[in-house]
Amino acid sequence: MIDIDTAKRLLDFGARIGQGTRANEQLKGAVAIHNILEKHGIAYLADEVGMGKTYVAIGALALFRHYKPDFRALVIAPRENIQRKWIKEMNNFAANNMLFPDLRFGSIERGLVRKPVFCSNLLDFVHEVIMDPRRDFFLRITSFSLPMGSDPDSWFRLRDDLLKELPWLPRDAFSLRSKDAFKDNFAQAICCAIPKFDLVIVDEAHNLKHGWKSSSARNRILSLALGRPLENGEKLLFPSNGFRSKRVLLLSATPIEETYRHLWNQLDVFGLGGKYDELRDDDHTDEEKKEAAAKFLIRRVTNAHVAGCDLTKNQYRREWRHGGVSQHDNPIIIEDDRQRLIVALVQKKVAELLNSEKFNMSFQTGMLASFESFLETTKLKRSDEEGNFDDSEQTDDMDEREGIDVHDINRLSRSYREKFNQEMPHPKMDAMVESLRDSWKTGRKSLVFVRRIASVWDLKKKLDEYYDDWLIQHLKERLPHGAQKKFRKIVGCYKKTKQKLDTREEKKQRVNRVGADTFFAWFFRGDGPRGVVSGANIQRRFIQRGAVYSTFFEENHVMTLLNARAGGVLKKLDEILGIGLAKLRKELQRNSVKYLSRTEKYARADLMDAAQAAALELLKERGKEIKEQAGIIWNEIYQGSIRKPHADEAPDVSEWLEKPTFFTEIRQPERAELRAMLWPEPQNGAELEKFRERQIRAQLLATAARLGHSLIDLYILTINRLGSIDLHTLESSSEENESLDLKRINEYLDLLDNQRRTEKSSRTWGAFDELSEIAQNYNLILDVNLPDANKKPLVETARYFGSLLRQQQPVGGMTGEVNRTLVQQFRMPGYPLVLFTTNLLQEGEDLHTFCSSVYHYGIAWTPSSMEQRTGRIDRVLSQTERRLSSLKDQPSGEDFLQVYYPYLEDTVEVIQVQRVLERMNIFLRLMHEGLKIPKGDCRAINVRASLISERRIPEPIQERLESSFPVQDYTIQGGKKQLAVEREAMEKSLERFQSFGDDYLPGLKIQWEQKPEKGRLMGTVKLSNGRIQPFALFLRSEEERLVARCISPIGRVVLCDIGDIEEKSAKTGFVRIGAILSRDDRSYDLTVEDDVILAAPEYDMNRISRLIRKVVEQAENMEQLHFQSQDMPVEEFEENLAKEGEDERD
C-alpha cells in the first residue's frame, strides 16, 4: 500500500489544472484506488461527472507501474472517440503530471514508456497482443458486440481471421450450431490469445449494469474473453482459458439506477460478485449494502469555489424546470391562437393513440415524435433498422422505436402544408430556436440534446435561417454604398440555390448541403459565387502563397530581431554585418537561392521566406549579440525549408525584409494593450520555449482570423477599402507597396482595438472577441484540442491548425457518428456556437471549455443519462468554473451553468418531464445520502395514472450534497514510504548517459553531433575501411535497469523489399532490422538496432563501445550487401533516427 506523501513525490495533478483542492482530490483518489485494488482486487471510482476520473485512474496505473515496470494494463472504453481520448490523456499525463521521468511509466522524452495501442476490434486486439503484450491496450466495449449477419460466410471469415493469428486452434472448435454458441467459442478463443492483465479498467462501467447474462451478447462475450468461467458445469473449450484480470477498476459517475443489484452485476461480469453477494440479496438492508459497497467504491462530489463559498453542483447549476427557455422559471407561452389550436389538435391525436388497446395509455419516455417536432418523420422500413430515436434499445417494439405518433403527425403535417403552404409550427421548437438566435451576437455557445434523430437537422435548418438573416443584414449595414446593388443580387442567387436544395429534399432526393447550409458557408468558404469579391475570395488572398495579402499574417523575424521599422531593416542589418549595402544584397541573393524552388514565377510568401532565411543565416554566423536568437529562429523555421532541387538563381530579395506584417505592427508600443489581449508575450521558459510559444500563438491567431467568424470583419474592412465587390476592383489594386501594406494592417488593428474598447453589450460579437478568447485560454485550448502542437516542427503547426479550424459552421449537427472536427471546434471559441446532437455525445466527450448552457430538448429516460449529458459541460476547468472562480461578489443566476428542460405545459410531455425530474432528485439522494430503492421500471409512463396523481414539477434540491462514499483515511496511508526510483537518481542516470558523448570510447573513432537532446546522442563512426556509419543512442529501461539502445541506418527501400532483406540477412547471423516510414510515405529507412543493459558505471565505456561497434559493423555489412550505396552523413537520417527513438515507427 502506498502512502499519499510518497505518491506526491512522483505525481503532480496540479500541473495542468493548477494546485489546489481539485488536484489534491485527484491525488487522494489515485492513491486510494491503488490501495483498494491492492487489497481487494476490485475498485469502483464513482466521482461525479467532470471530476477527472480518467486522470485519477491513470494516476493509479502510474503508481502501480512505478513499482512494477512490467505491470500490464487493458482499458475498455465505451466508444471509439473515448478510446482515443484515453490515449491522448495517457500521453498528456506522462508529459505533464509526472514530476520526473521515472523510466517506468514516463520516458525521458516525457512520453510513455509503454506505448498505448489502439485496437479497432477484437481481432486487432489479438494481433497486437501477440506481437508484443508488453504495452497498454485500448479497446472499446462495442467491439465485443461481434457483428454477425445471418450468412454463415461471415462467421467463417471471423473464424479464419482468428486462425491466422492462432494457427493451432482447431477449426471445428467453432460451433456453427448457432450464433450464440459460435460467439461463446470465439470469446473463449480470444481468452487463449491474451495474457493475464494486472489491471483491467472499464470506463463508463454502468454499461455493464445488466450483468453478463443479460440479453446483451456483448457483456457475455466480454466476460468470457476475460476468462470468466461458465456456470452450470460447462467445460471450458480450451485448456488455457482462465481469468485474465488480476485487478479490475470500474469507472462511472452513475454506477446504479435503482438498485444495488446493478453494482453487483458489474462485478459479476468479471467473476468478482461472490464476495459481495449482499449487494444483490433482498434480505440485506440498505445500510448493509452501503457498507459492502463502501469497501471498494469511492465517490466525491464537485465543488465550485465562488466568492468564498463552496457550492456543490446542484447549487451552481440553474435548472429551468418549468419548461421555458427565455425567462427563468417561466414556461413557454404560446401567444398565437393558431399555434394553440395546433398543439391542442396534436394532443387530441396523441391521446387517441395512447388510449388504444395496444398502448393502454402508456408510452416510452422521450419517444413521441410530437414532443420534438411536427415535421415529417421517416417511417422505418425494416425491423432491424435503427429507430427514429437515439437509445432505441429502450424498447424492442417496432412501433415505439419509430415513434407511435409518427404516422398521425406526418398526416397532419402534410395536410397543413397543403392547406397553408408552410410547415406546421411547433411552439417548443420555435421557442427553442428563437432563444438561440442571438448566439452569434453574443458569442454564447449552447449544447442541445435531442431524442428524435431528425430533430437535429430540423432544428439546425431553422437556426441556420435565422443566422442567414442576421449575417445578410449585418453585411448590408456595413458594406459600402458601391457594393449594395451587387450584394443584393448575390443574396438573391444564394436564396435560389437554397430553394433548389429544399425542393430536392422535399422530394426525398439526396442532398449535400455542405457548402450551402448557410450564407457563411456559401459566401465565405468553398468556391463562393463567381465574378465578385466573395468572402471565400478574400480568404484565399490571405492564404495562397502568391496572393496579394499572403504576407499579412507572416512574421518578419529579421525586422523584429533588429528592432527596425519598415524601410530601415536593410540599413540596420548592414550596421551589424558591416559589409556595405551592395555586398549585403548580393549575399542575401546568393543565400536565398537554396530556399527557392525551380519555378518561373515566385510566390510572394516564398520570396519573403527566402529573404528571412538568407538574412538569418548571416545573423546566426556574424550577428554579434543577436547571433543566438537568429540561430534559434533559423533552426526552428528555416533549416527544414531548404529545397531539393532548388533554384539556380534568385532575384534580389532584400526588399522583402522591409515588409511590415500584422505581427510587426502589433508589437508597436501604441498597440501594447491590444497585444496583451491577442498575442501576449510568453512569460516562462528559456528563449527557445518562448520563441516557440510566440510562434504557435501567432499561427493560431492567424488561422482563426482567416477561417471563422473573424473573417467577416476582415472581409468588411477589405470591401470598404475597395469600395466595391466587383472582381476587377480587387485586381486593379494589386500593385503593392509598403505604405499600402502598413495602411491595411493598421486599419485591421484599429478595428480590433475599437472592438476592445467598446462594451460587448453595445456591439455584436466580433473578431476581437474570438481572437482574444483564444489568446487568453491558449494553454487550455492546446491541452484539449491540440496536445501535439508543442512537439510538432513549427513549419507543420500552421497546417495542423488549418485542419482543425477548416469548414467552420455557425450551427453544428451530429448524428450517427462523432464528427471529431466539429467536437474540437466546439471546444474552442468561435463556430459552431450551437451544437445539436443525439446521445452520441452523451458520454466521454469534453465540451465544457467554452459552453455553459445545455438544453435537454428531448428528454432521456434515465437520470444517469441526463446527468451524463449535463456533465459534458460541467467538468474541471469548464467555462462555468473559470467564470465562477473569478467572481468577487455573490453570483447571479446568469453566472451559473444553465440547464434547460424545454417542454410545453398542458401537453402529455409535462408528465414525462415530471417523472424524469422526480427520478433525478431521487438519484441525487441515492448517491449522496444513502441508497434507497424506488419502485418500478420507469421507461414507460402510464398517462392515466399520472393524470390522476397530482401534477407537480419537483424543484431542484438546494441543500449542499455530501457523498456517502468518501475516501477513507486508511486507504491513503501505506507502508511504502520510498519511491522505487527517486528524482535525483534519475537525473544522475541521465547525466551518466549524456556523458557518453563526452568520453572516449575504446576502439571507435566517433564524431558526436553537437546538439544532444535529453536521452539521445547522435554521431558518426569512422570505420576501418574508411567508410562512415551514422548512429543514434537512446536511453531506455527494462524493469528497474537502464538500457542503451543503438540504431544505425542502412538505406532506403520500399515495403515489399523488407521481407526479402530480413530473410537474407537473418540467415547470416543475429541482426535486428528496423524500418522508419520516410516523409514521402512511400519508402522506409532501414536500420539495424540492438540494446544493452547498463551495468555498474565503471563498465559503461566497455559496454557502450561494444554495442555501437556491433551495430555499426552489422549496418555496414548490410549496406554493402544490399545497397552498395554511398555513405550518407548523419544529417540525412537525423530526423528519422529521432523518430525511431520516440517509437513513431512502423
Binding site: K115, I130, M131, D132, P133, R134, R135, K164, E165, L166, P167, W168, L169, A193, K196, S240, R1036, E1038, E1039, R1041, V1043, R1045, I1058, G1059, E1062, E1063, A1066, K1067, T1068, F1070, V1071, R1072, I1073, G1074, A1075, D1091, V1092, I1093, A1095, A1096, E1098, Y1099, N1102, R1103, R1106, R1145, D1146
Partner: protein, 126 residues
C-alpha cells in the same frame, strides 16, 4: 563472471534448471523453455528455438511475423536461422555482468520465445 559461475548462479534459482550448456526455464502456466548459452571472448550469446521447420510448415509469413515482433522487442530478437528454425537470441557482455542481469536476460528470452511458440503452435515442445 566465467562459465562456471553462470551455472552456479542458475542452480540457485527455483525456475531454472541447468543442463550442460543449456538451461531449462519454467515459464507461466506450467510451460518451459530451453536456452543454449555460448561463450565468446567478451560476451555470452543466448539462443532459444521457438519452433522447428516441421511445425512452421503451413504458417504464412514466418519471417515477417518475426520481423514485426522485433519491432517492439528490447534486448532480444527473432529470426529464421540457416536451418529454417525460428530462434530467439540475446547477448550479455561479460564486462560488469551481474547475476541479476544474467537471470533477467535468461527469463526474458525464455518468456518471449515461449510466448511466440504458444501463439504459433499451441505447443510446448522447446
Amino acid at each position: 563472471m566465467n562459465v562456471t559461475d553462470w551455472r552456479q548462479m542458475c542452480k540457485e534459482e527455483n525456475d531454472i534448471e541447468v543442463n550442460g550448456n543449456e538451461v531449462i526455464v519454467k515459464c507461466s502456466d506450467e510451460r518451459r523453455h530451453r536456452i543454449l548459452i555460448r561463450e565468446t571472448e567478451d560476451a555470452y550469446e543466448l539462443t532459444a528455438i521457438v519452433a522447428h521447420p516441421a511445425l512452421l510448415r503451413g504458417i504464412e509469413n514466418v519471417s515477417l511475423r518475426a520481423w514485426q515482433r522485433n519491432r517492439s522487442m528490447q534486448l532480444l530478437g527473432f529470426r529464421l536461422d540457416n536451418r529454417g528454425r525460428l530462434v530467439g537470441e540475446t547477448w550479455a557482455p561479460k564486462a560488469g555482468l551481474t547475476r541479476g542481469e544474467f537471470l533477467l536476460l535468461i527469463r526474458r528470452l525464455a518468456a518471449e520465445c515461449d510466448h511466440f511458440e504458444y501463439h504459433l503452435t499451441g505447443k510446448d515442445e522447446e
